[in-house]
Every structure is written in structure tokens, then in C-alpha cells.
Amino acid sequence: VTNVPISVTLNDKTHDLAVAPNTVLADLLRDRFALNGCKVGCDEGVCGACTVLIDGVPAAACATFAFAVDRRSIMTIEGLARGVTLDRVQSAFLATGAFQCGFCTSGMILSIVALLARNSDPDDETIRDWLGGNICRCTGYRQIVDAIRHAVQAEAAEPVP
């Protein structure tokens, strides 16, 4: 078994590296790049805590092989803010208290960023559909939905990527 060369753009920076075929993306991000905002909860691709954006699309990093992101662009929660300026979804989470323990928050935020990039004013059904892939055991989701509404209304400090 030989390592596989991949080229990946990670939070806007390109890396050429070799990975073992059986390495999953979550371990690549956490172990090699110390991007620990990618949380591993269920390790089954269900809970959404490990959600990252691959070419702008939400994906479960625990259920994605590292080799599968060759020549693709990954955004983790660490790459979302622009310098000291938070993304509007991050600001909305702060403003509405949309997290408690915080374990689901990075995946939740990235899913919502992807949602708002596709639908600037989602209806309740669409929000429920998208949040169906991210489990929060603390908030009961109400504050998270409030955060989405807040982000929709807020002026974005920076354009959403």
C-alpha cells in the first residue's frame, strides 16, 4: 500500500502532500493541520459536527476519504473569518447566543454559510431541511434559527465566500 499524492486548497492556501489511502479528511485536518474546529462526534457522518465545505458544499469530514479531496478546495471554520472580521453567520451566532457547549457550532455555522450562499432568504422548511444534517443537543435549535434570521437581515461585514 502506497501513499497517495493529493493537492488540496485548504482555507485558501494550496498544499501538496501524500496521504495514506485509509485516512479520512477529519484526521487529516485535525492531525496534520491542527484544524481542531472540525469536531468528530458520531463518526458515522450523521451528527454534522465534522462538517466542512468542499468546493462550497457541506460534507462530513469523518465520512470523506482524504484522497477524495484531491484538487478540491476545503474550508474549515478556521478559514471563515477574514482577519479579525467574523463572517456574518459567526456574528449572528454570537448575537443570538446560538451555542452552548459549542461542539456542534463549527459544523452548524459552515452548513448555514453554504445554505445562505444558495438561498439568501430561506423559508422555514428549507432551514429545517438544512439543519436536519446538524445535531445540537443543547439549544433546541430555536436560537440557531434566530441566528439564521439575524444573518439574513444583517449587513455582511465581508462577502460570504
Binding site: V1, T2, V4, A20, P21, N22, V24, A26, D27, V40, D43, E44, G45, G48, T51, V57, P58, A59, A60, C62, A63, T64, F65, F67, A68, S111, A114, L115, D129, W130, G132, G133
Partner: protein, 297 residues
Amino acid sequence: MFTDGAAAHASSREANMLVGLRSRKHIPSFDLVRPANVEAACRALAISGRSVVMAGGLDLIDRLKGGESVDRIIHLAGVRELSGVRRDGDTILIGALTTHAQLTDSTVLADLLPDFPAIWRAIANPRVRFAGTLGGNLMSAAPHYDAWPALLALGADAVVFDCWGAPATVELSTLRGRDDVILGQVRICAASSQRRLLADRSLHPIVSVYLGACIDSGTVRSARIVAGCAHAQAVMIGLPVAGAPVASLGSDAGDLARLVAGALPEPINDGLASGSYRRRMIEVLARRLLIKIGSPS
């Protein structure tokens, strides 16, 4: 008090306990093949040892975390000819690598079979719909997945490639458990008559029911009910309604649903539901779908 060695052993044991019996840390090593076309993928399939084909990978990774071992993974992401939905005459061709999200956005399906994308918008969640593929859903053959009952209800068949690269058209029912072929496309007839597909399911994976019908100027040409989740594989029951007005499906819904439930083999008993409960739920959901398709709206 632990000695250093004992402490290290305890620490290692605790770490292993955290990893548990099923984990990404348990995925065995394997060789990777990344073919650029179907021919190269088929050649890889012919190499000795156990090869598995990977589309979106969601189910495969899950199985590997459980300890399943393979010699080689054939990653099909580069085989672009297996993606997309197109029309070829009276047939809708859906590539095996077409994602669920692409199915919901397909203009071909929206034009020719609008029920299908409407149903597919409600399966799983966006993250799964972006990564999961129709082919992966079919070939993983999980009883609670939707592709089998939906495509059986539509009377679909499939094009597969063997290890020599030779294509063959096969019935869907022959695909289950096949790891010696690569699924190329699913084919759905889109002849002039109207194709309908309706579905309902329980909240938990206890039963799913799909109703497929071919309707021509208000007359039913054929109709079938497919029950998912309730058996090791989806079970299809044809309805004796050819030539009947479509409205009669609604007026006869109770009798037809009873006929379907009575014709089913014994559903499975498990921790979620008994076989008799499943049979009853299939009858209830089938009746609702028949009433719905038979109503003027």
C-alpha cells in the same frame, strides 16, 4: 498505584475503549485505483483480490469503519461519463454517479418525471444529497434506502459493465449483492404516457411504500406498489388495474391496499417493529397513495 508500564498500558486501554469497536481508526489499509474512464475501472475490477467500487463513499466508509477489509478501492470520481441525467428517445438515462442533489435539480426529470425530483428533495439531508449517488444507494442495497423501491416502482432497469468492459442491460433485481460489475446507468422508460411516482414512509425506518403508475388519457396502463424497509429487499406487487380509469384507484383504494398487504411475504421482525405492524402500515400507506393518485387534484 501504577508503575510507568502499567500506566501506559491503562492509558492505551482507555484510548482503545474510546475508539470502540467501530471507528475511522479501524479502517484497514488498501490500495487505491483512480480510473479516468469505464474501461480502466473495469480493468481494475479484474485484478485479483477483493476490489470494491466507490462512488460517493458514504456507505463504503461506514462499512470499513466496522472492520470490513478490502484489497483495493476503485474510486470512480474521475469517470465523468457515469454522471448526469439525459434523455435518449423514450428513455431517461441516469448515470450511476449522479448525486441525489443533481437528481433534484435535473431539468430532464423535472420535464419528464416531476414526481421523482419532488420525492428526492425529501430524502436524507443536504450534506448527504450532495455526496451520495444513485448508484451508491442502489449498490449498497440497504433495505431502508429509497432508490430500490422508487426505481422498481418506475419499472427501471440498469446498464452494467463486467470486468471486460462489456455493457449489459439487466433487471434491477439482479444487481443485489453484485460486486463483480460496475453499475453504469439506470434506465427509466419515458414513453408518451404519463408516469407517476408517489411515496410515503414511516418516520423511523420501518416501512416505505412507493406507488408507480403509467397513465394514458385518464386510463391506467399499469400500476405497482413497492414496499421498502420491511423485507431484506424491496418487494413489488403489481396491481390488477390495467384499463381502469385512474379515479378507480382512489375509489378501490381499500381493496387494492388489502390485496397488496395480503400478497406480501412475511415482513421482518426487529427491534423497531413487528412483522404484523409493518404489514398493517404498508396497507395504510398504500391506501393513502392510491387515494391520492385517484383524486382529481
